[in-house]
Symmetry: C2
Subunit: 214 residues, 2 copies
Amino acid sequence: MSVETAPRRRRLEPDARRGQILACAVRLFGERAYPDVSTTDIAREAGVARGLVNHYFGTKKDLYLEVVRVMVTIPEVALERLPKGDLRTRVDASVTWFLDVVSRHSTSWLAAVTARGMGGDADVERVLAEAEEVAADRMLVAVGLADEAEHREELRGMVRAYGGLATSTAREWLQRGALTRAQVHVLLTTTLLTIVEQVIPQVIAGDGTSRPQG
Amino acid sequence: MSVETAPRRRRLEPDARRGQILACAVRLFGERAYPDVSTTDIAREAGVARGLVNHYFGTKKDLYLEVVRVMVTIPEVALERLPKGDLRTRVDASVTWFLDVVSRHSTSWLAAVTARGMGGDADVERVLAEAEEVAADRMLVAVGLADEAEHREELRGMVRAYGGLATSTAREWLQRGALTRAQVHVLLTTTLLTIVEQVIPQVIAGDGTSRPQG
DNA sequence: AGACTTATTGACATGCCGTCAACAGAGCGC
DNA sequence: GCGCTCTGTTGACGGCATGTCAATAAGTCT
């Protein structure tokens, strides 16, 4: 009687195995900190020999980079169509969309932004920076400043900086519970409006972009 | 002739040795990431046996906690006297003070905020949170909202969130070079004024602080 | 079935971390 | 000066994590 329907080794396609291990790594790195998660833990979680982790991802740090990339890419579900109304309407919609996304994927999103990079690693920083770039470009489209060719760099810098505000504000809501969603909404919309309507015109019309003293 | 003015072991007072090792650790952790700095490196840098590091600081993570505490405490040089003028004047002075501090200690400050916590470690997060708390209280004093007893929690939350904006904006200036100091100054002052004059009154007068639905 | 491909394993070498008993520098009494 | 004590300091040991690599077996094709 052949009851051996469970071979001790199951052979999967590389993509499948890779994805499975990556999923386990995402979960573990979302719970514990980088040095507190061993590749042995990940391998055990995936029911796999430890060497296989290195086989697919190289070093532990490489695996972590992919994990972070997955975490920050999750909110990329796309801000497809934004309302055609005036600035205030579009800003409001953007903030609503942002808050929806981060509250839906709150745990992994919090892990990604809280785990701001393993103690200042350069490669991790690069991955986070790329994600910020994408988010900043989308935001520029949303507020209708996408085709401002001349001051592109400053605009992107300001929007990236605003991303820092959005992040820390969302953390006050989701992590510390110091603010309600409504309060966060007011803070983010009002601030973004101020930046677009007051700060950016002042910078564009103001002093030189790279002259130390004006 | 006794040329042995250099005994292979030099005996220091505990405080001195501790401080010396801590200084080396601060330098190394400021350059490389947490997992890329071994206690062996720190011991070698201090010209000391590796066991001594553990003797003084316990575990490697404990040492790292002290390092982070030192890094974030550096800018605590105190915002002693702030001008007595109106809100705009005080906000302007606060931002100027902040930019002075972070530009002076730019390297260690960048290391501290960039090294946002070793991949989401709880204890590291606690140290950073305490530092944010101190900064937030000072800011509340500076903008004249220190004695608003009722909505204390929300106010502190908002100011902490603004701290996130200040951090990311300063990084755009010091690290990426996308913004000039003047632009950063405009962005931070205008935004803080908006928060104090528009957002906070709206929150105080607005809906309930902890009621999910109004 | 037999052969072939390759996903998967297990062991090896290296390095890091925490602990601990033993060593030695500095001050003191004699 | 000699020896004693105190304690800052060392070196080594055990355990664990990581990366590499040849050996193995699962699945497929003929």
